[in-house]
Structures are given as structure tokens and as C-alpha cells.
């Protein structure tokens, strides 16, 4: 998918499908949520905000595509804001002259539409990298997606918050004023996003991955960095030691990004850029790219890979075990009398050595002996200890079981 997007722009229906549903700015990319949360409290204000926002986005994106491609990025972002206020000011001025009521309702939210980060994101990701035509359709799609969310939120919050539909009171709803507050907006957004995700999961299961939101683990991340892949042939400690520096490297120490990461020249709509778990964990120090999400859409590492349950057969489980969990796992061969190839004299505190000494054979053997240990959902040390205890208690049963399974 990424390759297609790079060589030629996506067909029009695809652009709209992605702009509106799959990469919905608010519900999927989590950007530009301020007006939805704070200001969209009725259908009328939502419609006004949606109109102003669409204007801002389309004009900014057009200007960025037409004139700003050569301007350095750090100046461009300021220009977007200037274009934004240039679009918003006439609206503000007209409203101020004619209709004081809506100005008060919208408060300071309308002028703040000028600083919508979504416009900056779409410009940086799409406008300055593609043709005017593609950029225009992209901005229209994003506007429709954004407006739809604004109107949905406005309608829902007006209905449940004020008990009205488009200004007309309905009798069957008891208004809950909390819906008009920002937390009400967040709740509406949460359920709308879930609805969208449910629909995409059902209707476009292949694209469902693109609707994920990536969360980079920080405090726990260090423990979750997988050890480097080494083939069963490299079981010897001497060989494995050469590869050992990688697992202890913090992400900040990684100087060069891995090859598989999307490059700078990647098209913003390179929609298929799903990264593998390795790619996600070891990322380059590119903050701007990173902050905006690689190539516009957000990706998540598959959960199974964050906390692996079952090691892939033929490969060492050590590569998938986190270093912190290793000592606990390491106790298995030491404590079990069945395992033959247990490496001797493993200092439990030395993670490096521990990792290297778990060979593929040991592991597959262990797996065959204790299948349910490896299938267990929980990988924490207590659970494993408990399991081992249980097994020792029913050792006789296990001895009957083992040959059958092997």
C-alpha cells in the first residue's frame, strides 16, 4: 500500500474513504479535538465551526501546496497560523457586526480555530509533498471527516445536554448539563470513535490496523525491548555476546533509524505504513515526524507483540522475552528436573548471560513439556512460580503426560 501511494496518488474514492473514515482527523488521528470538546455544544455552533474550519483547512492547504513548498518548515508553521487568522477574521468581523449572540456563545473558540493543528498537520504531511489537485481533494476529505465529527458531537451534546434538537426543545430527554462541559465532549468523542472503529473493523477489516493509535511505552518500555534475533546456530555465548549490546540500548541511544521505517520522502497518505513491533520500539529521534505520527496516520504495535504469550517455534523465546522477565523464565530449566540441556551456572542477575544461554532447543523442549505454561496469558513471575509449584505437586501426572505430548 505504501508503495502504491508513493508511486501514484490514491484513487479518489480511496482518498475520501481514508480522509473521512479510516484516518478520521479527530476520531483516529486524535488531532484538532479542542473545538469539538470545548465549543461543539449545539448543532448551530457546530455547523458554524465546521464551515469555518473547512475554509481554513482548504485555503491553508491550497496555499501551502501552491506557494510554500520551498519555505523552511519552521517558518511555514507560522504562516499557517497567519493564513488561519486571515480566514477567520472576516467571519469574526461579520458576526461581531451582525449577530452578537453567537459571538458570545462561541466565546474565544472561533478565533482559536485559526490555530488548528490539523491544518498544520495536513499541510506538512500532504500539501507540501503532492500536487495541488491531490492536496485539494485531501483537504476536502479531511474537512468532511472533521465536520461530520463536529456535527455529530454538536447534535449529541445538544440533545443530551440541553434537551434540544437544533434549538427546539424535545420533551423525552432530561437534560444533563455535564454533557455541555469538556468532559461530556470527551465522552461523546470516545463513544463516537468506538462506533467508527467498530464499523471499520466490520466493514474494512484489512484497513482496521490503520485506525489504531500508537502509544509508546516509556517507563515500562526499557523492559519490553526485545532481545536481538539470533538464529539457533548462534547459540554459543561467544557469538551471542557480539550481539548483546543491542538489547540494553535505550531508544535514545539509537542513532540511525532502521531501514524499514518510512522515510522522509514518504507520501503523507502512505496509508499502509504499518510498522512492525520492532520498528515501533526503536524509532529515530525525529520529533516532528514522531509527534505527528509517521506519515500522518497513527499505528499501534500489535498487542501480542508487546507481551508475547507464545514463542514462535524454531526461534529462541529469549528474543521475545523482556529482560526483566528473563530471570523468572530462567528458573524454569533450573528447577525442572526433566530438562536436560539446562545451561549451568547462570548468574540470575546477569541478564545478558541469561539471554544468551537460553537456546532454541531448550525452549522448544520446554514448550513441549509445559505447553500450558507457555500458553498462559500472564507472564508475570508470580504466576509462573505458581504454575511450577502446581506442576511439582502433580509431578506424577505430568510424567504420564509428557511422552504423549512429545
Amino acid at each position: 500500500m505504501a508503495g502504491n501511494a508513493k508511486s501514484k496518488p490514491l484513487p479518489l474514492p480511496q482518498v475520501f474513504l481514508r480522509g473521512i473514515l479510516i484516518h478520521n482527523p479527530v476520531l483516529v488521528q486524535v488531532i484538532g479535538i479542542f473545538p469539538v470538546v470545548a465549543a461543539a455544544v449545539s448543532l448551530r455552533t457546530s455547523a458554524l465551526l465546521a464551515g469555518v474550519f473547512s475554509l481554513v483547512l482548504i485555503i491553508t492547504q491550497f496555499a501551502a501546496c501552491a506557494f510554500l513548498k520551498k519555505v523552511p518548515r519552521w517558518i511555514r508553521v507560522a504562516v499557517y497560523l497567519l493564513i488561519g487568522i486571515a480566514v477567520v477574521f472576516p467571519v469574526l468581523y461579520i458576526l461581531e457586526k451582525n449577530n452578537a449572540g453567537i459571538r458570545i456563545t462561541l466565546g474565544i473558540y472561533l478565533p482559536l480555530m485559526a490555530a488548528n493543528p490539523l491544518a498544520a498537520l495536513r499541510c506538512e504531511k500532504v500539501a507540501v509533498r503532492s500536487s495541488i489537485k491531490h492536496s485539494f481533494f485531501d483537504s476536502v476529505a479531511a474537512s468532511i471527516g472533521y465536520s461530520a465529527v463536529l456535527l455529530t458531537a454538536g447534535f449529541t451534546r445538544e440533545l443530551f445536554g440541553s434537551g434540544m434538537i437544533a434549538g427546539k426543545t424535545v420533551s423525552f430527554i432530561h437534560p444533563a448539563s455535564g454533557m455541555l462541559m469538556p468532559f461530556g465532549g470527551f465522552i461523546v468523542l470516545g463513544f463516537t470513535a468506538a462506533l467508527l472503529r467498530w464499523y471499520v473493523l466490520r466493514r474494512y477489516p484489512k484497513l482496521a490496523k490503520e485506525t489504531a493509535f500508537e502509544i509508546v511505552n516509556t517507563s515500562v518500555r526499557v523492559r519490553q525491548i526485545p532481545a536481538p534475533r539470533f538464529s539457533p546456530a548462534e547459540e554459543e555465548p561467544a557469538e551471542a555476546e557480539k550481539e548483546s549490546p543491542a538489547p540494553v540500548l535505550a531508544v535514545s541511544d539509537m542513532q540511525s533509524p532502521p531501514d524499514s521505517l518510512p522515510t522522509e520522502d514518504n507520501d503523507g497518505e502512505a496509508a499502509g505504513d504499518i510498522q512492525t513491533s520492532d520498528d515501533v520500539i526503536i524509532q529515530p529521534e525525529d520529533d516532528m515526524e514522531d509527534y505527528h505520527g509517521e506519515s500522518g496516520e497513527l499505528v499501534i504495535m500489535p498487542e501480542e507483540e508487546v507481551l508475547p504469550d507464545e514463542p514462535v517455534s524454531g526461534e529462541s523465546s529469549a528474543e521475545e522475552l523482556s529482560p526483566a522477565e528473563l530471570p523468572d523464565k530462567e528458573e524454569i530449566p533450573v528447577e525442572t528436573p526433566v530438562s536436560e540441556k539446562v545451561p549451568e551456572a547462570v548468574p540470575p542477575d546477569d541478564l545478558q548471560t541469561a539471554k544468551q544461554t537460553v537456546s532454541a532447543d531448550d525452549d522448544s523442549q520446554l514448550k513441549s513439556i509445559f505447553p500450558d505454561l507457555y500458553l498462559s496469558e500472564e507472564l508475570d513471575s508470580q504466576a509462573i512460580d505458581r504454575r511450577i509449584e502446581d506442576m511439582f505437586n502433580s509431578l506424577e501426572e505430568y510424567e504420564h503426560k509428557t511422552p504423549n505430548e512429545e
Binding site: 476520531l27 483516529v28 487568522i85 482559536l112 493543528p117 502509544i215
Partner: protein
Amino acid sequence: MNRFFDLLSVAVYMIFIQNLVFSGGYGASEAIRMAAKPRRFLLFALSIAYFSVVTSAACRALDFIPGVFALSDALHAVIFVLMLVLVYLITAVLMRIVLKAEPKFLSLMGISALNTLVLAIPFINNRAAYSLTESIGTGLGAGLAFILAVALMSNGMQRLSQNKDIPAAFSGAPAIFIYVALLSLAFTGFSGTSLFA
């Protein structure tokens, strides 16, 4: 001394009682995205605090000119935006020339400067008719409120990302929205708003 306490009380008000991110939704998308990938977070937050303090003070100082003070809201909006862009560009150029900052760093600074959170501060000052010291307090409070918000969100998101019991439809962004909604609800409680009036 009184002025110092004015500043402090406004800052505390902005952080806890009217937390800009949770109670106002300002800069919520920046906060959520930063919490999901908290890289250079402190730098980002310091940058936000710097820009909000400087812009807030500069915009308030402009209002001492009677001609500016009398302008309409729409023109005030333009002035605030121009002032923010000016502050950003001056800072960026100084960074580029004096400190030889990389363009990448400047881009990050751009995101931290040109967002709704920073731009909202002059409007809030204007609406609440804060004095110059209080305006500095709001700027400072905005930066600290952002730090608090990101810290709270980030911690929760780590747990959300590891929770496998979340239904498929709710995993990812929807769960984050609901989580932020609950935090926001808590902060609404601090402001003493009555929900069941």
C-alpha cells in the same frame, strides 16, 4: 509581594481549578499526542510555558496603549495571533543564529508555540481583565497545567495500552478519550461546578 501572590494564585488556579487542558480542552490534542509519545516532553512543556508567558505578557502590555485597548474583539484576535507569530519567529531566529538550533528542533518548537493552548492565554487574560502580573501567572500556569495533564494522561495510557480486556472497538483512541473524559470530570469537580443543579 502582593503581586507575587497574585501571580501565584492565578497560576495555581490555572493548573488545578481551571486546568486548561482538562477543564477547557485547550491544547488537548497536543497533550494526548505528547502523552502517547512522550519524547522530549519536558523540553516541549518548557517551550509551551515560555511562549505562553511571553505572549501573555506582551499582549497584556499592548493593552496599556489606549488605542489598542479600545479595539473590537475581532481585531484583538488578530493582534494576539500576530503577537504570537512574532514572538515565535523572533525566538526561532535567535535560536537559529545564536544557538545554531537544528530545523528539526525549531519545528518541534513551532508545534509547542503555535497551538490553541498558548493562543488561548491572551484571550483568557483579556476576558478576565487580568493585570500584567496575573497575565504572567496565567502563562506560567498554562505550561504547568500542560505538564500535569501530560503526566496524568501518559501514565494512564501506558496501562491502557497493556490492558487486553478492552473490547476491540474501544481499544486505542476511544479508550483514551474515555480516560481523558474521566480525568476531565475530576478536574471539573475541582472547579466546584454543580452538575445536578
